[in-house]
């Protein structure tokens, strides 16, 4: 499992180069925008928010893959979580970093973004804590700090393991990262209690983060934004897209790093069921949102409603419904298609669909605000699309780099879960639940 840390393949360099190129182009596009102003994007009166904020919500949503799911699974002590947790937590950390960049990219004067930070200044003025953007600042920072620590702490024993196995510069680097970890019973116990506390603390934070992101919209008196359902709707959508991202990442890692013996069809099966559940939940929320608007028949909202149902945004809307609802339910409710390929196809659909969902929340409402005189249509520009492409490339780049530098599966957790037979002879009295989970026969579809 530590093989990728020790050896470097040509493929790794190829991925780094390709992704790095796109990221560099995105950085160039951002520099272009910084130099000339936000006008090089497609933003306009009245669509002052568009693609950047779409991506912001999308990436923050993706970030709910990891810490949230892994914290839930850790708390209920689900044995099958063990190979999945780190794969998931890494997505959280990187997706949050990328997502948190978008509000800054989107600013008219990004060099003043630090004014959101509450610090005493000579101007004697503080940030406005009534603004949802200030809440965002606090929520995302808390979630990011928590997630980074949640990811880093269980990595320490693995760093110690690499320290013992490696030679040369790797031994030095990983030795200092291991912080002098020896593996005393005290260290193990403290680590486990810390992880329990963090899991409990980070769950409400994760829920609050996407609720607050939804507040960015629902606090404004804009048709189809000003809705009480937005909090849970966004959280459900976030977990939905997060699981999809997790499935895609797991499948990619399984192929690239040959982790077939750790990431079993069972994991895809379980996550596929979760994805199916979230898909139904998502459908329920969309139905709620649309039905109340249609039934209420309030004329400000109906303009937005019809624009998405049969107007210029309708193709996006119906693609979204197919990707988020029809496709996952068709593929995942059937045990014969709920295999790895089926899960990955459904997940790809969900990622596309959820991106469209965010776009359809941000853009049409602004295009059709209360005064018909001010209606206008937004179209993105190459600068925006380039920056967006760069963030996807950045995700691949960071993920590949991480999988290269750190064992992507928590080795000690796997050992503790009795998945891997250490050189010792007796299995020992493991948790019967875990063994049952490991030995559970996989579904007929997954066996193929």
């Amino acid at each position: 499992m530590i093989r990728p840390v020790m050896n470097t393949t040509v493929w790794f360099w190829a991925i780094m180069l390709a992704a790095g190129t796109v990221v560099a182009c995105g950085a160039g596009a951002w520099a272009y925008q910084l130099w000339y102003g936000i006008g090089v994007s497609g933003k306009r009166w009245p669509s002052f928010w568009a693609l950047y904020l779409t991506n912001f919500v999308f990436w923050i949503g993706i970030s709910h893959a990891g810490t949230l799911i892994s914290a839930i699974l850790r708390l209920v002590n689900a044995g099958w979580r063990r190979p999945v947790t780190r794969v998931a937590e890494v997505i959280t950390v990187f997706a949050l970093m990328i997502g948190a960049m978008f509000p800054i990219i989107h600013l008219g004067r990004p060099w003043l973004a630090f004014w959101l930070f509450p610090y005493p200044s000579d101007r004697e003025i503080w940030p406005n804590f009534r603004s949802p953007l200030a809440w965002d600042f606090f929520a995302i920072n808390t979630y990011l700090t928590g997630s980074v620590l949640f990811l880093l702490l269980p990595m320490i024993p693995d760093f110690a393991l690499i320290r013992d196995k490696a030679t040369g510069w790797r031994k030095k680097v990983y030795g200092s990262l291991a912080l002098g970890w020896r593996g005393t019973t005290k260290q193990w116990n403290r680590l486990e209690s810390a992880m329990q506390i963090m899991a409990i603390a980070i769950l409400p934070v994760a829920v609050s983060v996407h609720t607050i992101v939804s507040f960015d919209f629902s606090m404004a008196n804009v048709p189809m934004w000003h809705s009480t359902i937005f909090g849970p709707y966004f959280v459900a959508g976030a977990i939905f897209s997060g699981i999809a991202a997790l499935i895609i990442a797991m499948a990619a890692l399984r192929k690239a790093l040959h982790l077939e013996q750790y990431l079993l069809p069972l994991h895809f099966e379980n996550l596929g069921k979760l994805l199916l559940l979230m898909s139904i939940l998502w459908g329920y929320f969309v139905f709620n949102e649309r039905l109340t608007v249609w039934y209420g028949n309030e004329h400000h909202e109906m303009a937005v409603f019809w624009a998405t149902q049969r107007g210029e945004y309708a193709p996006f809307y119906w693609t979204m419904v197919i990707c988020n609802f029809v496709l996952p339910i068709a593929l995942l409710s059937n045990p014969y298609t709920r295999n790895i390929i089926g899960c990955v196809v459904a997940s790809l659909g969900v990622v596309v669909g959820m991106w469209l969902e965010r776009f359809l929340i941000v853009v049409p409402s602004l295009s059709y605000k209360a005064l018909p005189y001010s209606w206008g249509t937004y179209t993105p520009t190459p600068v925006e699309l380039m920056i967006m492409a760069a963030t996807f490339a950045a995700m691949i780049l960071l993920y590949a780099l991480f999988a290269k530098l750190v064992p992507i599966i928590a080795i000690w957790e796997m050992k503790a879960g009795d998945f891997v037979q250490a050189p010792r002879s007796g299995v020992g009295a493991g948790d019967p639940h875990r063994i049952a989970a490991a030995a559970e026969p996989s579904s007929p579809g997954a066996a193929s």
Binding site: V22, C25, Y32
Partner: protein, 218 residues
Amino acid sequence: MPVSSQTALRARRSALRAGGLLAAAVLLTVTAACELASPGQPKWNDASAGRSRWGTDPVFTPARASFGQALREFMSSHPTEVAQPFDFSHQIHLGKGVLCTDCHTAVEQGPRAGIPGVNTCMICHSQIATERPLIQQMTKMAEEGRDFSWNRVYAYYPESHVRFEHAPHIRAQVECSTCHGNQQEQTVARRAVNMDMGFCVSCHKEKQASNDCLTCHY
């Protein structure tokens, strides 16, 4: 060297080469796409040529002249000593009992204190100290109809959008030295007080003057 590692080396080289080509291609495409697809946007060469979109030359814009200028504004760094074209001495004039308002005449009426021109000087200096070389130099300027081009000592960067009015402060009996330092010790004016926003705000709070942002920023 074993064969397998040579193959690996070759593969790595070709991967690097392919990546380089890919990078160049993407960069070119993006540049071209940005230029072609958004005709309404400023072009790369717009700013360097200093031409406006009407084709007229030159153009006025609030953009900073250079990156260094923008950085200086960002750090709100101001020079304390400003070179002036003429060695005027506040010290001598105030020492002889001249009042600030004798020369800065507008200070009690309007927003600006007014920086006196050569004709104001000549009111006195047509008679006083005419033998001094500096005064003679100035007299010559006045006869030729030339004037001083003083450099600003106390200024805000345009981006601070500050509007300061002298008259209300004089009416509220704020001493000139509060903001300008003791001019009896200065020859040409120096930036004696660093007038950041905290300086203004704390005084306004103390004197219970309005701390509404629109009092100064509009």
